[in-house]
Structures are given as C-alpha cells and as structure tokens.
Symmetry: C2
Subunit: 423 residues, 2 copies
C-alpha cells in the first residue's frame, strides 16, 4: 500500500481511502493499527473529496500572455497582440509557459487537459516534471497554404512516431479551424485520425464571420456541413470547441457523428462572440458537452470551478430559467463518470479499482460555510483556491496549496514574459 | 506613527507608507533607521497595494442561507426557502450570521458595505468586533399593511435616536421595494430621509413582474415614475439596487435626481432576472453606477473581484463589444475616488492625508503571473483569495489571509445553519 488518505468526507460519509499503485485499493470506515505500517498518510481532516477536474479545451503556454491584450476586438487582439507575440515564442518560453500552466492547473484541481497549441513536444516533456493526464493534439494550421500543410503533416506523422505515449499522455490531431486550415489538411486529418484511432480537436462555429465566410466560399455550407462533406467527422472522435453559431441541422450532424462540444463560456463572453452556447438544444439531441477554459489570454485564468459557475449563470440568464444547469450538472461537465469516459481518464468515480485522481476541498473555507449543500458551495461560492490538496494516480501533486517547484516556475515565467512582451 | 507598510508596489513604484491615527501620514521611497523607532511594520514584499473595495448592496446575514436554495424560480425560492428560513432567524443567528459575513468581506478586501437587512441593531454591534466601514439601512417592509408600517416607522425613529453613529458606521433607511412597501412607508421614508439627511436604499426594477404590477396598480406608472410621484427621490441620496427593467424615461428620472444604480450581475444572472443592466445608457445619462454582491443566497459569495469580472463579461457579451467595461472601469465601480465619494468613505486615493484603507495583493500568486498588466490580472484572473492583507484605518484586519476570530465564527456559523435549516 502506498498512501492512506485518512478521514475525508465523501458523499456525506467520513471514509479512509487506501491507494496502491495509483489506484484505490480499498475504502474503509475504520483504520487499524496494522493498516498504518509502512504507508504514507495524508490527513483528510474531514475535508471533502471529489474526483479530479477535466479541462476540455486550452492553449496552455498562453498563460505567458495573460493580461497582454484585453478589452479588444477579436481581430485587432489577434493581429496586433496575440499573433505577433506568438511568433516570437522561443523554446525557453514554451518551457516555462507550459510549466506555469501545469502548476496553475494543479492549483485549480485540473487533472486532465485537452491541449491545442504549437510546439507540442515541449508540453510532452513538461508533463514528465508535472505528471498530469493530458491529450496533446498536434496543431495543424496552414493558412490555406497546401505546401505548408504538407510540411506540417510530415512533422505531425513524425511527432506520433517519435513520442513515447503512455496511459496518461495521449495524442490527437488539432486543426485550427475551417478558416485557417486548407481542405487538404482537413481531409488528411480526418483520414489520419481514423486510420490511427486518434481524436481530432478543432475550433468550430465561434464567430458569425466564420459562418458567413464558410458559406460564401463553400456553396452555402455551414462549417459543420463543410466538415461533414470532407469526411472529417465519420468514425472519428472530434472535440469541437465553442459551438456557438449552430443551427438545427448543424446540431443534427454533430449529434449523428457523436461530436463532443466543448463549452468555453468565459472566453466567449470576454471576446463577445455574440451567441450563447446552445446547451439545452445540444443536450436534447444527445451531443456530449464538456467544459473548457480556453487559453489564459482570453479568460484570464485556468480555474474550472469559476468556469462552472459562469457557465451556469450564463445559461440561467440567457434562457430566463434559473433551474437550468444546476450545480450538480455544471460539475458533471468537468468531473465524474461521464466526462472521464469521454476523455478516457478512468472511471471518474471514487470506488475500489479506480484511479486515485482527487481534489480535496477545504471544509473550513468561508466559501464552503455553512455546509448546507456542498456541491452548491463548490460551484456557486468556491473557486480553485478552496482546493487544499490534489492527488493524481496516488501521487500528492499539491499539499496544503503547496506545489514543489512553484516558486521557480513563477519567477521564470515573470522573466520570460518580460522579455517576450517588451521586445 | 502607528504603522509602516514597507515596500509595497503602488502604481508601478515601490513605496513605504507611514500611517498615523488611521490616516496616511507620509509616503516615502526610503526608510531610515529612525523611522523604525517604536512603529509596527507590515512587510509589503513588493506586493501590490490598492484602495479597499466597496459593496454597494448586500444582505449580510444571508451568508447563513448559502446553498440553501439554488437553481429555483424566484417566487418558489422566496416562498418555500428564503422567507420561511428568515422567519425563523433568532438573535443568535443574526449574531453569527453578521460575523460570518464580516469575516468573509474582510477576506475579500471589502472595507465598506451598504447593508439592507432585518435586525440592523445586531449588525451595528457586530461592527464593534470587526470594524469595517458601513452604511446600515433600517429596513421597512410592510406588505402594504399601514398599521405595520406605522410600527416599523416608530421603531426606525428609535433606531436612529438610540444608535451611536460614528464616522465609519452610518445609517440610512431601506425600503424593500414598490411591491412590498405601502405608499405610506415610501412617502414617510422620502420625507424622513430629507429631514434627517439620510440616504435611502431600495430594490428597484429587478423583475418584469414588478414593472407590470406597478403599472397596473398605479395608472400605468413604472416603479421609477411612481416613486417620483411620491416625492421619494427629491433632494435625497437614493441607492437603487438592480435597475434592470428601465426604459429611457426612467433613466432620465434617475439621472435628474442623482439616483445611484447598484449593479448586482451575479445575482441577476443566477435568478434569471431577464434583463441586462443598461450600463452604457446609465453612464451616458450620468447615472452613477456602483457594484454589489447582493446576499450570499443568490450569489453565493461576497467576492467583489469576481463580481467585477462577471460584470465586465456580461456587458461585453450582451453588447457584442469586447471593449466595453475595461478592467480599469470595472475596478472603479467598487474601489477608488468616485465610489469612495459616493459612499463617503474618504478620498479613495493612496496619498498623504487619506484614510489608510488598503488591500494588498499577492504578486506571487499564479493569477497575478506574469505581471504584464496588474489591473487586468486583478479583475480577469484573480479573485478575493489573492488578497494577502487588508488594512482598515491603519488597523491590520487580515494578515497573510488570517483574521482574528475566524475559526470560532466558522464553527458557530456551521452550528447555527444546521439548527436553522433543519428545523
């Protein structure tokens, strides 16, 4: 036995969780003297334990660009701020940017993230130091240049061949969008993903302009129809980020192919994307929905508990129905069995045989006081800061809000951002 | 000299702030040996200092009802949950509920709050133990019963006569709303406030039903027109909470009387009030706007930094204009010179002669990393948890996130809520 988490509150009961080789070996009401032989003990102090959180869509190293461009129109923001800064990113920037994001994710209870960003090799390396579960999508973005597409495709194949994939760190293929990727890339990716059993990840229907341009260029087809025609969805697992500007037939197509819609409410509101995520419609049609933070440049943090609150507020506000997206439901978009099955991270349950992937919430926090409804407190009142410990596969990644190496990461991130953004 | 705050970052410069008798005596680049004689020192460690935050509308003891009713329709929420629970509140509940709210406010950097709740005497007493600045409005709510109104009015007059008002704790008169107060109360309050130079505080235009009912009962008048007819606004300082369902002529009336609109975005979204606060229109017409959290039963916390973020997100989203309500602007709705003048809490500036009312933000927090734009980080990335110290009138109310008495308050609040909500 490797670890005992003693006295944590799980679904209203105080339990002791024994962990062996990264998995829950046993959950017990009591602990005997012999149980304590040669085992590390994390005192739970009656705090609340929940399964880890999942971030369905993010661009990790963008934490370095936090606060660099705000309160700007999307085009201007991309053209004058984000893209010029991204063009200057060095290996060193990726190194520390990835680490800053990983530390921030641990701090906020995120045990899995669905990554889409340049230099994915750097992230795969960073995950050795901060061992989160992740799906690293190799990014294709060719700006309609087929020669560039071919180069990226070669590099993509090399990436998959040369990376040591594990049970925890898996790969996928990311397409930026229908407006930044050529048909050539989109078709190739759909085919490659099918052949290699890899998921796809794409920005889809984020802005009205995306829809209009796509219809103009492609015989009136919406981005969803266009992708379907390119055979992008067939027999593939596709993560579609944003999914704001959808009509009924788009939703039918997504539903028919089992596409997973990733909702990023904070980013959508901050950039004024102009539409509200059609949560109820997607749900009614059986489209799976998960939550994401998007990158920190448009959020500006990676706090999924905050994201859940704002997701729920936005649905209630927009529909005029305060019963929509309850606290329990908001939580289930980022944690628990359904989302864990989608991301293939385990059972998402706290039971014998499951991966020991937990967050432990401080019950003495003001946000969690009084304890009338723990889940409501967690979603509507608490934030990532109320997470006291984070355990991933039985390893304590954060204890009492302390993460090994955090100080260095913060210091180096400050330094990198200063050089990057002043040049 | 009472206190030296050494090495804090203020507007990009590291300074030392000397405090004497609750006020800033001197701000200096350097500290000499002699400066340190007989003075308490708070190490600023280059962290960021800002003026304290103001909460424009709250019902403090409702922290005890946090999580008691969520995801419910307003009427059902009030009738089956909130009002029955409120009817059972004991003196003991007010005692601990008020203290829990005050500790939570300190924790979130709130130095002033504009209170509207029953049993205001209990809050005046609680403020002796936790000395925040506050405006305690005596609540009138008669349910259209004039006899009850008369009793409350007598009690209100007694309250003002028998309370020891100070520079920090001031009084006002709260009317629940045009639908829960008789004309008799509303008229009396307008007159009483004028005569005694007291501000008024009222819920105004929160729901569509409020507008429709008012028009039906009062010859087509909107709540704003109705109050104007009752001479409620004339020569009075009025805080109007919510202000969602306003038309152009309502805004003109509010503007003409200098009414202050208090925006509570989280509560409005959570209860699905159905309209977005007309921020730009109010601003264009010169109506002062401040932020509030509303009570914790509809928020569910008292975190003004979170409220600023959501206020800004909602305006951007609703207008389709991401440049609306910048980080600086959102901050100014709760902190700084304008809001301090509105609430009569001092200059709201960090300069010689001003009240020493500060929050100090942890610069090493991940939310504040990198330091590209401090104000953006504070609003869009940070939350109340990133506030390290809170100083009010030179007294350190929170140091390193520790508040004297917090543990007892949390424990007692748990106990009170358990008794209150299980009975």
């Amino acid at each position: 036995m490797d670890l005992l988490i003693r006295n944590v509150s799980h679904e209203g009961k105080i339990v002791n969780i024994f962990v062996s080789k990264g998995k829950i070996d046993r959950i017990s009401d009591t602990v005997s003297e012999s149980d304590l032989q040669g085992i590390a003990v994390l005192e739970g102090d009656d705090n609340y334990i929940f399964p880890m959180l999942h971030n369905g869509h993010t661009h990790s190293p963008m934490v370095l660009l936090r606060g660099y461009g705000d309160d700007m129109v999307l085009d201007e923001w991309l053209n004058t701020k984000i893209w010029p800064a991204e063009a200057r990113l060095t290996e060193e920037d990726y190194y520390w940017g990835n680490r800053l994001a990983l530390v921030e994710m641990i701090k906020n209870g995120t045990g899995f993230f669905n990554e889409m960003y340049m230099n994915p090799r750097s992230m795969v390396k960073a995950l050795i130091d901060f061992p989160l579960k992740a799906r690293i999508h190799f990014p294709l973005i060719d700006g309609m240049d087929v020669e560039l597409a071919k180069k990226q495709i070669t590099d993509c194949s090399l990436f998959f061949e040369n990376t040591s994939w594990t049970q925890n760190v898996k790969g996928g293929v990311a397409l930026h969008s229908v407006y930044a990727n050529s048909e050539y890339s989109l078709k190739w990716a759909g085919e490659y993903a099918r052949r290699n059993n890899l998921p796809l990840h794409i920005h889809l229907c984020e802005t009205e302009q995306e829809i209009e341009n796509c219809r103009q260029k492609n015989q009136g087809q919406s981005p969803v129809e266009y992708l379907e025609k390119l055979d992008f969805f067939r027999d593939n697992k596709v993560f579609a980020a944003h999914c704001l500007w959808l009509d009924e037939s788009d939703i039918d197509i997504l539903s028919g192919h089992g596409v997973i819609a990733v909702h990023n409410p904070v980013s959508n509101m901050k950039l004024a994307a102009g539409r509200v995520f059609p949560y109820s419609k997607l749900k009614d049609k059986g489209v799976p929905v998960v939550l994401g933070t998007d990158g920190a440049a448009s959020n500006n943090n990676l706090d999924l508990l905050e994201e859940m609150k704002i997701a729920s507020l936005l649905q209630k506000h927009h529909s005029g129905d305060p019963t929509l997206m309850s606290a329990d439901e908001a939580f289930s978009l980022s944690s628990g069995p359904v989302v864990s099955q989608i991301f293939e991270t385990g059972s998402g349950k706290i039971e014998t045989g499951s991966d020991a992937d937990f967050i432990i919430i401080n019950r003495k926090s003001l946000s969690m006081t009084p304890a009338t409804n723990i889940k409501s407190n967690l979603i509507y009142s608490a934030s990532g800061h109320d997470i006291l410990h984070m355990i991933l596969q039985g390893e304590i990644l954060m204890k009492d809000r302390m993460i090994r190496g955090e100080e260095t990461v913060v210091e180096m991130a400050h330094r990198r951002a200063e050089i990057l953004l002043k040049s």
